[in-house]
């Protein structure tokens, strides 16, 4: 096993939307430089959980959280600056959401809000991020064209590049390929394998083949509970819990 301390250590996490409990006593840890897939039927809490990790749930009124999430050993609900957390823990959303500006400006947006002003440094960052996101060759001739002119798959890789440009440590991905065609999906899956070397990745997916293809460990959520969390191979071929087996074999969800 990995001798390094876990990237995230989730302990007895409960979360309520008003009166509704969305997460129930979730506890597990995520190792660095791994891809963790979160699967489960719609409304099971996997996306909610993902959004806890960079505290995007703060934006929703009436959310209450109990328990703790340690990121590099530090509680993310503690004194930690949420801006700093979101810089370290980047998020890619289900639907590509490029800003209505040029490709270049989209990538440079993150570094800029964190105070990078030097044009040369920004240009280097933009290029490096696009290369990392395997998009550079496709867009290098139109960096100053509107980002909304790209195809859906390109837009999603642009969003990944945009996150990479702020030099994060963790990538959270909320069903990043659900709005894309199979070819774009394949490109992004290949990309994930590359990115794993430098980043810790947590990906929520509805697509179980995808979870099987890309992830090292998989967590199965049901009704707000983490039913099972194990190496992906075990989840798919040797589930311990009956509910996991039922879900995997397509009996519900």
């Amino acid at each position: 096993m990995d001798p390094r301390p876990p990237k995230f250590d989730v302990r007895h996490l409960d979360l309520w939307y008003g009166q509704t409990q969305a997460l129930k006593d979730v506890s597990f840890s995520i190792d660095p430089n791994t891809i963790t897939a979160l699967i489960g039927p719609s409304g099971c809490g996997k996306s909610t959980f993902l959004r806890v990790l960079d505290r995007m749930n703060d934006l929703i009124e009436g959310v209450r959280v109990e328990g703790s999430v340690l990121y590099d050993g530090e509680d993310i609900f503690g004194d930690r600056d949420v801006i700093e957390l979101r810089k370290r823990v980047g998020m890619v959303f289900q639907k590509p959401n490029p800003f209505p500006m040029s490709i270049w400006d989209n990538i440079a947006y993150g570094p800029r809000v964190h105070g990078v002003k030097d044009k040369k440094a920004l240009s280097d960052l933009v290029e490096r991020s696009l290369v990392q996101a395997a998009l550079f060759d496709e867009v290098k001739d139109r960096l100053h064209k509107p980002a909304l002119g790209l195809s859906g798959g390109q837009q999603q890789r642009l969003c990944i590049a945009r996150v990479l440009a702020v030099e994060p440590d963790v990538l959270l991905m909320d069903e990043p390929t659900s709005a894309l065609d199979p070819i774009s999906t394949a490109k992004i899956e290949t990309l994930l394998d590359e990115l794993k070397r430098r980043y810790t990745i947590v990906i929520v997916t509805h697509n179980m083949q995808q979870a099987g293809r890309v992830s090292d460990r998989t967590g199965f959520f049901l009704h707000g509970e983490l039913v099972e969390y194990a190496p992906t191979r075990d989840i798919f071929f040797n589930p311990r819990d009956e509910r996991t087996e039922n879900y995997i074999s397509g009996r519900f969800g």
């Binding site: 934006l59 998020m91 639907k95 490029p98 800003f99 209505p100 500006m101 509107p146 702020v166």
Partner: protein, 550 residues
Amino acid sequence: MPDTKSHGRRILQQKAAFAAIRGLSILTIAILALIIGFIAWKGLRFDRETRSTVLPFAEASPKGLAIVVNRESALEVVEAPVLLGIYTDEYINWSKISGEDTDLLPVAVDPATPEGAAARDLVFGAGAAEAIAWGGLVEFVPSPEAALEKVRTTPGSIAVLPHEALRDLAGIATVSLRRLSVVASADAMALVENRQVEDMDDVEVARLVSGGVPSWAALGGPELAVAPIAPPAGSPLEAAAKAAGQKPAGNPAIDMAGYLAALAGAKGGVGLAFAEDLVAFARSGEEAVALANGEAPSLAPLTRRGHERGWNLSLRYLVEEPRLSGRVGGISTIILNTFAMLILTLLIAAPLGVAAAVYLIEYAKQGPLVRILRLGTETLAGIPSIIFGLFGMLFFVDILHFGFGLLSGCLTLTLMILPTIVRTSEEALKSVPRALREGSLALGATKLQTIAKVVLPAAAPGILTGLILGIGRAVGETAALLFTMGSDYKLATGLFSSARALSTHVYLLFAEGISFDRAFSTATVLILIVLLFNVAAKRLVGRMGRNAAA
């Protein structure tokens, strides 16, 4: 099996509904086109009814004399009765004659000289010099050369000079004279049983003098045969009469005085005469005695009804300053004032309105307070502008002592258009997808950075539309401005100087009965400006939209 009968009925209903909707939309478009077309036509062209006792035959050099004016004058043609009026103090200013706000200076060469006498005869008619009443304004000069020099150097001056005296035309302009009148004997013009000869148009005049009308009754006058009297053969009048359509059948035996006396004496007589000869005739023996006894004149000119048409809206109208309450001149300063007003209003209203919308959408807790605020803004948007005007007058003009001026007017307009700007900006901000905000926040941007760099740019087309709508309302506003911005048509020199906007100008031109034609041309300019704004906004929004989407 489908019910074919009800199916057919449904199709018929749909067809009928479609036809009705199409008809209504065509009607709407037609009405809009009619309104704009009407205003634009009235604004571009004028068509005035004119009444005059002289016919529209202009002579450049009657009796070898030329009428000259200072080069700055816009006068091109003058009617003989007006020329007489100029030399008898009936006019003291050019405004009623040529529309210029210039003092009138009639110059006359000393009537003791032959040149002076000839000029006097053209204005007053030949005859006894002592009976002529020169006006007090008239400045007598010893020679035609002196008169020419005077006209050259004095704006607003006019003189009648022999043709030979005009060797150097620098600084002067010549004016044509209209002096041919249709005259009728007193019995034809008499009021009989509430009937009298009416004003005639050109066709009726031509038929009358050529003998085409048998009885004065056809023209609204008494039952009396028309007796055309031919002018003396070989006289200048005969040539003029030919031009007017009269058949040449002149009597060579008589002179002008004899001709006019014959005309006056004929039963139902009608003929042509030069205006100055009529003046001379009126001054002469019998006629003067009759007038002194309170009798009707035995010869009277008929009134011709004509139309004057031309371009109303000219470049000159746009670039000249208004004078005499806008009766004369153009609207340049008013256009500039309007733009100053719009810019100032936008400078105040745009930051306020957008900031309020950002607060309401992005920051305020959506509770009863915000609901009340929204209701308030919507109510304000529906309040008639006159009420804003009253408020502005009491609050800005009076309590804050800003006085009638740009600042008071713009603040009032700001209050008026703020609700529109806030509401449209709110809608624009609301329509920015949540995903964009989340994308920015997830990158570690603060809320303020997100709003400034992502949300506002994304909402910019919508916000801009709101601003244009507001500006559109402001540029057409009259009631709120009358009480707050004042109505001085000079160029505004500061925040507190009274300024007239185009809309106010249109209103005042109508309300004070100054000129309908000018009101319409100003209205056309106003419509063009609004059109300009809309086109500019469309292009701007279109370009922003393209940047965002393609």
